[in-house]
Structure formats: structure tokens, C-alpha cells
């Protein structure tokens, strides 16, 4: 049994690429009429760290978040999808509570509270139901992504009154009530809700409120603002014109850049940086500041290219326009002309042709994230390239690998020599042939992301072939990815999963493959166009039914 499984795995790998069924779109027939987006089951997602942060920033402005977030879980390569399985552990709720108390304390801080609370209590040392109601109904609507029910509001007012009475401070009551809002399952979990679809008898669609939150999470990586909530509550969002107006407003908003950032931070697995460290003796230039700024550089590069310039998605693999700080410039060896401020000041630059770097693959973030602490890992890098940009899942090692057949390369071997030793073992070769050659293309970038030309004293050979296209180095690989149709097909699938917060159904995958990709290709691969196309399709809000005819979940 075990052997058969192993052989089948390897066989599949040797035959070509370990591409998941999902990536190929080899599903069964669509659930809906031919060519239409069929929708899918309802999902309940826990707010991701990014969504939580963005929401707090949008609702309360610049406040500090103390405590730590429970690690997000990843499913189908995305945190946004893993969120549909995540819960809140005791330790996690403790941290949410700590953060909530900290945020609420800043909201009622005497120096700032007038920014948030427009009314004044009649007596600052006692409860004031009218003022509390005015503030909490407004804040509650933004945090729960819908108006509070009367019962919920009554609960909030009760907290405010009790807090004010016990502490002799109206604002302490407000602090507690805000804490309750921020630790509520109504805030922490984003629930899809269904209603009968008036255009399709017996079918369901998302409620206007669920529609609004799906839109804002996709386009802003955050909760709906007051205007979007108004549109959902007035029925405007249920009309085609109203939906278009709101989608266009969200895309035109400065928050759209934050939404695109949130998607790419998730897609690029930047949450994994929390576990990345580099050997200080071997890589003295690497630091926590560099790691933070490297992520920021990648996201700024992408937002600049895809949002500010409204460029072609594929150009992120080749772009030479980027932004750096003095610290990053020094890490890259970029001479800085003119006057600079502190080490965190960002400046837009175009990399000269004399520099080997081009595109996000050659930036510090990718090289450092997918490496060990002490040396590079072509295997990890190759795996990430396949999984992140091409949606090709690499299966875990088969159970029966006999490592005793693996011949370790000598200590003076270059990484390519060591890796080629892997390929000498048939049991390993199947998977590693998919990962290692791609990863070796990045060998000019050491584990800290610094450019080098030699490894173990030997010149680095970064050449290779991707799907029949030869390249000489990492920028060549970037160009090959740029031109590879799998890369754009992958982005449509992944972004669609991100948008719905769960893995797409077979029917949805077919639509993504047959319709969405075609439309996106015709529009020149603009990210805003892709998101808009998804957001305006009525099928994006359809809810499938279970055997009993009720909305599926």
C-alpha cells in the first residue's frame, strides 16, 4: 500500500509537474448554467491579522496595538482561506482582550477622545446613556460591519453604565464597551449570510451586509466604511448600478492600495518572516530592520507598479522601478546621491541596467524568506516559486524515502553540487527536479538576499529552463515567469479564492479558468481590472444549496 502510493506520487511527478487538480481546473461540470459563475457555500472567517489591523486603522486611526496575534493558519496557500477554518483559542482570546483593552484605552485617552466621541457626558463621573448610545451605535456599526441590534446595543449600554458606575468614570465605561465590541465573535468572525435570490427562484445569494463585507475585504483588506454600509442598508448595493458605483468608489479610494498590499502580503507568505533569522556572524548586514523593510520594499514595488501605475501584473517579475531606504540601498550596494534623512526614509529609484536585480524574485524579501539561517535553500526557493507564482503544489516527501542512499556532497561543494547529489537518488529526484533547478536560478542571492557571484569559491551557474524557456540567471527566470501563461492563470485562481475566503468550488474554478482569465487577458492583466471583474459578477454573490435546498455551508 505504502509503496504503491509512493510510486504513484513519483510517477506523477516524473511525468511532468505535480500540478494540483485545482490548479489545472480539472473539475467536474459547473454547478450553474454554462459560462455562469455558480457561487459556492457560505463561509465564516476569522479576521486575519492584516484585516484586523486595517480595520482598526480605518475605524480609529493611528492607534498602537499591543499583544500578539495568534498565528494565522494557511490553507490553499492563503491565510485568507485558512481563516475559514481558524478559531479562537484561550491564549488567542486573551491576546485579543489585551489588544482590545489597549485600543479602547487610547480611544478614551483625554488627549484624543474628542476625535472619536463627539458628544460630552452630562457628568464625566457617571453613566450617560444618550452619549454612550450615540458613540457605541456608530462604532459598533463599523466594527460589526452592520448596525447593532437593539439587544446588542442594550448589552453595550449596560457595560458602559456598569463601568462608569464602578469606576466613577464615564469614559471607563466606554473603554469597556469598546473592549466588548472588539472581543465579540461578531467582530472577530466574518460570517456570510444568505437570503433568497429574487432573480432565481429557489436560489440564494449573499445578504447585502455580507456582500459589503466581502467587497471591502477584497478591495481594501478591511471592513466596510460608513458609506458602503449605507449602500448595503439602503438596498443600493443590491442593484447593478449601485454595486458598480460602490466597487468603483472602493477601487478609486486610497484604501485600495492597502487592499492590494494585503493580498500580496498573504500570497507572498510574509507572515512566515516571524520565524526567519539569519546567522549574525555569517550575515552581519541582516537585521530585524532589514527584514521589515525588505517586506515593505516588495509591497511598495508591487503597489507602485499595479496600483499607482495601473501596470501589467506580469511586470512584477521584471520591474526595475522600486523604492528603497538608505539601509536597503546599502544592502543592495546602490549608491545614494543627494541628501537622505533617517534610515527609514523611502525613495523611489530605477535600478540601473548595470545591476543584476530586476523584479520581486531578486529582492531581499524573497531570497531571505525562502532560505535557511545559515545558507540558501534552492529547494525551498524552488518550492515557493512553484507554489506561490504557478499554483503547482509540491507534495510532501513520500513515506518510504531511504535517506541512507543519499550521498552527501563534500563540505567544499557549491550549492549546485550538493543539490545535484539529491538528483542522484531516484526517490528524491521526482520532487526535487521540480524545485531545485528553479531555486538554483536564485543562487546569486545569498540567504540574506545579498548579491554574490561565487559560492564555495566557485562561480555560480544560475542558468536553467522553465517550461521550455531557457534563462541564464534570476532576472532571466523573472522574464520566463513574466511570459509564462501559468503565472497569470495562477493569479486568477488564487485571487478568486482570496476573494471568497474559501477554496473555489469546481463550478467556480471552471468560470475562473474559462471566463475570468480570458477577460483579464483581454484587459492587459491590470489587478484593479481583475478585482473589478470579480466584484461585479452577480455569481460572486451566489450561494449554492445543500441537498435539502438550504444554503450550503
Amino acid at each position: 500500500m505504502r509503496k504503491a502510493l509512493g510510486k504513484r506520487h513519483i510517477g506523477a511527478l516524473l511525468a511532468g509537474a505535480a500540478i494540483s487538480m485545482a490548479a489545472l481546473g480539472l473539475g467536474v461540470a459547473a454547478d450553474g448554467p454554462q459560462g455562469e459563475l455558480s457561487g459556492g457555500p457560505l463561509a465564516m472567517r476569522r479576521l486575519t491579522e492584516d484585516q484586523y489591523r486595517n480595520t482598526i486603522k480605518d475605524v480609529f486611526g493611528d492607534v498602537t496595538l499591543g499583544g500578539r496575534f495568534e498565528p494565522d493558519t494557511r490553507d490553499a496557500q492563503l491565510i485568507a482561506v485558512g481563516a475559514a477554518k481558524a478559531t479562537v483559542t484561550p491564549g488567542g482570546l486573551e491576546q485579543y482582550d489585551r489588544m482590545a483593552m489597549g485600543i479602547a484605552q487610547q480611544v478614551v485617552d483625554p488627549a484624543r477622545r474628542d476625535e472619536y466621541i463627539s458628544c460630552k457626558p452630562a457628568n464625566a463621573k457617571a453613566p450617560d446613556q444618550a452619549c454612550a448610545r450615540a458613540f457605541l451605535s456608530k462604532a459598533g456599526r463599523l466594527l460589526f460591519r452592520r448596525p447593532l441590534t437593539e439587544a446588542e446595543l442594550a448589552g453595550e449600554l449596560q457595560i458602559a453604565a456598569e463601568g462608569a458606575t464602578k469606576a466613577g468614570d464615564f469614559y471607563y465605561g466606554i473603554q469597556l464597551a469598546v473592549t466588548a465590541l472588539l472581543t465579540s465573535p461578531n467582530f472577530l468572525f466574518v460570517q456570510d449570510r444568505a437570503e433568497p435570490d429574487p432573480d432565481r427562484a429557489g436560489a440564494y445569494r449573499l445578504t447585502a451586509q455580507s456582500k459589503a463585507q466581502r467587497l471591502s475585504l477584497l478591495l481594501w483588506g478591511s471592513s466596510p466604511d460608513a458609506e458602503l454600509l449605507r449602500a448595503s442598508e439602503s438596498g443600493e448595493l443590491s442593484t447593478s448600478a449601485g454595486l458598480t458605483r460602490q466597487v468603483d468608489r472602493l477601487i478609486a479610494s486610497p484604501r485600495f492600495a492597502a487592499g492590494v498590499r494585503a493580498y500580496f502580503a498573504d500570497m507572498l507568505h510574509f507572515d512566515m518572516f516571524r520565524a526567519v533569522s539569519k546567522d549574525a556572524a555569517l550575515y552581519p548586514n541582516y537585521s530585524a530592520d532589514i527584514a521589515k523593510q525588505a517586506q515593505e520594499q516588495a509591497l511598495r514595488t508591487i503597489v507602485d507598479e499595479l496600483v499607482v501605475r495601473n501596470g501589467d501584473y506580469r511586470d512584477i517579475f521584471t520591474v526595475r522601478d522600486t523604492q528603497v531606504t538608505p539601509l536597503l540601498a546599502s544592502a543592495y550596494g546602490i549608491p545614494l546621491a543627494g541628501k537622505w534623512g533617517d534610515f527609514q526614509q523611502w525613495r523611489s529609484i530605477r535600478l540601473p541596467d548595470s545591476m543584476p536585480q530586476a523584479g520581486v524574485l531578486t529582492q531581499i524579501s524573497f531570497a531571505a524568506l525562502h532560505s535557511g539561517s545559515g545558507k540558501t535553500s534552492p529547494t525551498l526557493r524552488g518550492k515557493a516559486l512553484r507554489e506561490v507564482f504557478l499554483c503547482q503544489e509540491i507534495p510532501p516527501p513520500p513515506p518510504d524515502v531511504d535517506f541512507s542512499k543519499f550521498e552527501a556532497a563534500g563540505p567544499s561543494s557549491s550549492m549546485r553540487e550538493a543539490i545535484e547529489a539529491h538528483a542522484g537518488n531516484p526517490a528524491c529526484a521526482g520532487c526535487h527536479r521540480l524545485m531545485d533547478p528553479l531555486g538554483l536560478a536564485l543562487e546569486n542571492y545569498d540567504t540574506s538576499g545579498q548579491f554574490r557571484t561565487r559560492d564555495a569559491g566557485k562561480p555560480i551557474d544560475a542558468s536553467g529552463i522553465l517550461d521550455g524557456v531557457s534563462y541564464k540567471d534570476a532576472s532571466g527566470l523573472g522574464q520566463a515567469l513574466h511570459d509564462n501563461p501559468r503565472a497569470t492563470a495562477c493569479l486568477t485562481t488564487r485571487l478568486y479564492n482570496y476573494a471568497i475566503g474559501r477554496p473555489a468550488t469546481n463550478g467556480e474554478r471552471e468560470w475562473v479558468r474559462d471566463q475570468l482569465l480570458k477577460d483579464w487577458t483581454a484587459s492587459g492583466y491590470k489587478i484593479s481590472g481583475l478585482m473589478r471583474r470579480i466584484a461585479l459578477d452577480p455569481g460572486f454573490y451566489r450561494v449554492t444549496t445543500d441537498k435539502s435546498g438550504a444554503p450550503a455551508s
Binding site: T89, G173, F403
Partner: protein, 448 residues
């Protein structure tokens, strides 16, 4: 899956034990286990037995055998080289050799299947097990009256690495930063049991209303949810109960605890990592904090991940990590690099045991009141072997366990250790594990 019984009856235990193996009957002991709260023995003697799980990745090396030749008492036995650091504490530990994980033909997912089988009792066909881990079932049993049902630390800086799972297979993350751990346990919310004065804070009293309001939202929020989503919300509300309990404890004058001392200094912030010296530093600081948390009865169950499963421990300035070495040093050689790391691991294991033993608690020590289970993910990392996965226990859990022995489990499922640990803490369970990992056989030789 665990087989939960209402309570172990004498008959049921007798039946289970006799069907298992011909071992010394532990019934007299089982009958005098702790009371329902786990705070006193049946004779009324106050006890706060504690549980600690200490995990290390990569097992041991292929050189000389790590377990002693002789089984039974360790008196007069010289421990093999890789576990020689435990020599100084050998009368306080048990060595359990030849415990296996039996996958029944399911895939051996490297560095995962080993602890899943042992600690969650199941080798899954897929990636995850929808069942709680042993430590959770124990902390559910003994942690009810404490501020934290369980506290976990990961010494390599990675909060995502954990072998502790709640109901439904929900992973519990660990603290990675000692300063954050200090703030969590001994920060502003800590109530010193030995403080001269105790005045409930009205602000904290008011916070009860937050919990009430959140509880009131349950019905509405669960409306129309599918079973899986409802279960996720159930976990939220279970977590809410701990938050409620934490508030209640801040409002109740605690019983004085002579052995409880709030650590004076909040550890400095530093960059945690899997660099060996940094990991050892973190282990020491976390160990001290967790021990103080036990002494101050903030928790009765702690988790310590000394190294991750797939440990990337690395000596400063060296490019290659432990895990990489474990696949590069030939099995036929002495595996010197791997041995270095495995011995560093046993040195820290011994330090942890000694540290718990250094804290006096009445006429005994903290170690005496604790059962520590120390185990790994693989027998032999090179081959990701599921055979002979190393395991140790330390401490006597308030006199409920015997120590100073080496037991050869002769290929039995590793779930026997988890079952025994759970039964020591009176978890109402008489068998544990699924398929070939299912066992009803307590390791009675170590039960007092």
C-alpha cells in the same frame, strides 16, 4: 479518538488492565488518586500536581544506542553517552525505550507523524488529526481552577510550531519571547497570593459585564451555522470561559502560597531565534518563568518546545543546521555533528529537570509535584523512523509515580505513555488512540 468514560469504575479499570498485559495492578493507587479538583489527595492532603510537556525534535543519532542495556532500576547503571547529561538526575527520571508509532500503511509525514501518533493518538491519512493532544486532556482535567489552563513556550522563536492541540485539532500557539511571557503571567493582571492586602479592583469587577454581554451573543451568532463553523464558535465560547475565570480570580483573594515569588525582573527584549546559544538562553528564561507560574498556581500545565519538530538549531557562525546534518551525516558513521546537537538537547533536558527540582515547595520540590513527559518526533532523524522514539518522564506527580527506571516497551504504541499520563491525572479515559495506536495498557511499572 479518545474514549471518554464517565468515570473509571474499579471494575472497568480491572477489566482494561487485565485485558492489556500482565502488569502489576495499579488499582489501589488509582483509587486514591486526586480528588475531583486535583487539589488534594483523597486523605485531604493538599496537593497541586502539575504536568509539563518538554518536546525536542530529531530523536537521537545512529551511533551507539541511546538507551541503557539493562532494564529496571537505573541504580548502578551508567547512562549511554547521548543521555549521559541525565546521569545527575537519573533517580528522578524514567527512560522509556522502544515505543513506536504504527502508521497502518498511512504516509509517514516526516517530523509530523511521530508526534501525531504519540501525542494525538492517531496517524491521519491526511495532514491533520481532529483530536486534542494528551497535554490538553490533562490540562482540561487539572487546570480548571487556575488562571491559565496551560502555558506554552517555544524556545526557537517560532510561535507557529506546536504539538499541542485543543478539541477538533486546533493548534495552541506558544509564547516565543520571555518578556512577553513575563508580562502575560506576572504583569498587571497578576494577583500576588502573598500580598498583605487584597482589595478587589472595581474596574475589574465591571469587566464581568463584558463577559456577560459576549455570552449573550451566542444564540444569535450561532444561528444558521453549519456544524463545523458552530464547533469553531464553541471553541471561542470555551476560551471565553477562561477569560471569565481570569477575571474572577483577580477578584478573589487567593490562598497564600509560601513557594510563590513573583520574579523581580522582566527579562530584557532580545532577538529570539533557533541559534543554539539563543535557544538555550530562551529555554532557561522560559523555564524559570513557567516554574514560577506553577509555584504561584497560575497554571498547572506547561508546555516547553525546546526545539521544533524538524529542528533547525544551529551553532552561531555555522551555515548548516541540525536538521540538515541529520540527513547528511551517513548512518554508518559516528554522526558527530548530530550527536553534538542531541547531547545539547539532553543537557538542557537535565537542566530543566534540575531547575524544577531546585524549587522547594513545603517539604518537597516542584519536580516532586510534577509529571514531566519529554519526547520527540522520530527515533532516528536520518530515516524519519517511527520506531524507538525516545521518551522520558521526570518527577513523581506528588507521589503518584515511581522514578529511576528504564523500561523497554518492546515496540508498543507510544500512546501508552499518553494514556498513563492522563490516568495519573484522573482524566476519565481507559483507552487512547486509534487503529494500531489504540491502547488500554497503562505503563503500570512507573505508577506508584
Amino acid at each position: 479518538m479518545r474514549a471518554t468514560e464517565r468515570l473509571l469504575s474499579r471494575r472497568r479499570v480491572m477489566h482494561g488492565v487485565l485485558q492489556g498485559s500482565a502488569v502489576t495492578l495499579a488499582l489501589p493507587f488509582l483509587d486514591c488518586f486526586l480528588d475531583g479538583n486535583g487539589v488534594a489527595l483523597a486523605d485531604g492532603t493538599p496537593r497541586r500536581v502539575r504536568f509539563a510537556h518538554w518536546f525536542f525534535g530529531n530523536g537521537f543519532t545512529a551511533g551507539k544506542q541511546w538507551w541503557p542495556d539493562k532494564t529496571g532500576s537505573l541504580k548502578g547503571v551508567t547512562l549511554p553517552e547521548e543521555i549521559a547529561p541525565l546521569e545527575v538526575v537519573k533517580d528522578k527520571i524514567n527512560i522509556l525505550s522502544h515505543m513506536n508509532v504504527l502508521p497502518d500503511g498511512k504516509p509517514n509525514r516526516p517530523h509530523v507523524t511521530g508526534w501525531q501518533g504519540t501525542w494525538q493518538g492517531t496517524v491521519p491519512a491526511g495532514a491533520t488529526v481532529s483530536a486534542p493532544s494528551v497535554d490538553t486532556m490533562i490540562s482540561d482535567q487539572i487546570g480548571g481552577g487556575t488562571r491559565f489552563k496551560s502555558l506554552g513556550a517555544s524556545c526557537t522563536g517560532n510561535p507557529g510550531t506546536s504539538v499541542s492541540f485543543l478539541d477538533g485539532g486546533v493548534a495552541q500557539s506558544n509564547e516565543v519571547n520571555p518578556a512577553a511571557m513575563y508580562a502575560r503571567i506576572f504583569g498587571a493582571d497578576f494577583t500576588d497570593p502573598n500580598a498583605a492586602n487584597f482589595t478587589p479592583d472595581p474596574k475589574v469587577m465591571a469587566k464581568r459585564s463584558v463577559i456577560s454581554a459576549l455570552k449573550d451573543q451566542r444564540t444569535a451568532v450561532e444561528l444558521d451555522l453549519g456544524a463545523a463553523d458552530r464547533q469553531r464558535l464553541d471553541q471561542y465560547f470555551t476560551s471565553l470561559r477562561q477569560l471569565e475565570q481570569q477575571i474572577d480570580m483577580q477578584l478573589t483573594k487567593p490562598e497564600p502560597l509560601q513557594a510563590c515569588v513573583r520574579p523581580k525582573d522582566n527579562p530584557d527584549e532580545y532577538a529570539v531565534s533557533d541559534q543554539l546559544d539563543v535557544t538555550i538562553r530562551t529555554h532557561k528564561l522560559m523555564g524559570q518563568l513557567l516554574a514560577h507560574a506553577l509555584l504561584c498556581d497560575q497554571t498547572r500545565s506547561i508546555r516547553m518546545m525546546f526545539s521544533d519538530s524538524t529542528p533547525n538549531l544551529r551553532v552561531a557562525g555555522e551555515a548548516t543546521s541540525y536538521h540538515t546534518w541529520s540527513h547528511q551525516e551517513p548512518l554508518t558513521g559516528p554522526q558527530e555533528k548530530c550527536k553534538f546537537y542531541s547531547m545539547q538537547t539532553t543537557i538542557q533536558m537535565a537542566e530543566f529537570v534540575k531547575m524544577l527540582d531546585s524549587f522547594k515547595e513545603g517539604d518537597s520540590t516542584l519536580l516532586d509535584q510534577t509529571l514531566v513527559v519529554m519526547n520527540s518526533d522520530n527515533g532516528l532523524a536520518f530515516t524519519h523512523s517511527l520506531s524507538n522514539i525516545p521518551a522520558f518522564t521526570a518527577g513523581r506527580a506528588g507521589g503518584l509515580l515511581k522514578t529511576g527506571m528504564h523500561l523497554d516497551l518492546a515496540g508498543d504504541p507510544g500512546t501508552r505513555l499518553g494514556l498513563t499520563a492522563m490516568q495519573v491525572f484522573k482524566v476519565p479515559i481507559n483507552k487512547f488512540g486509534t487503529n494500531s495506536m489504540e491502547t488500554s495498557r497503562t505503563i503500570t511499572e512507573i505508577v506508584a
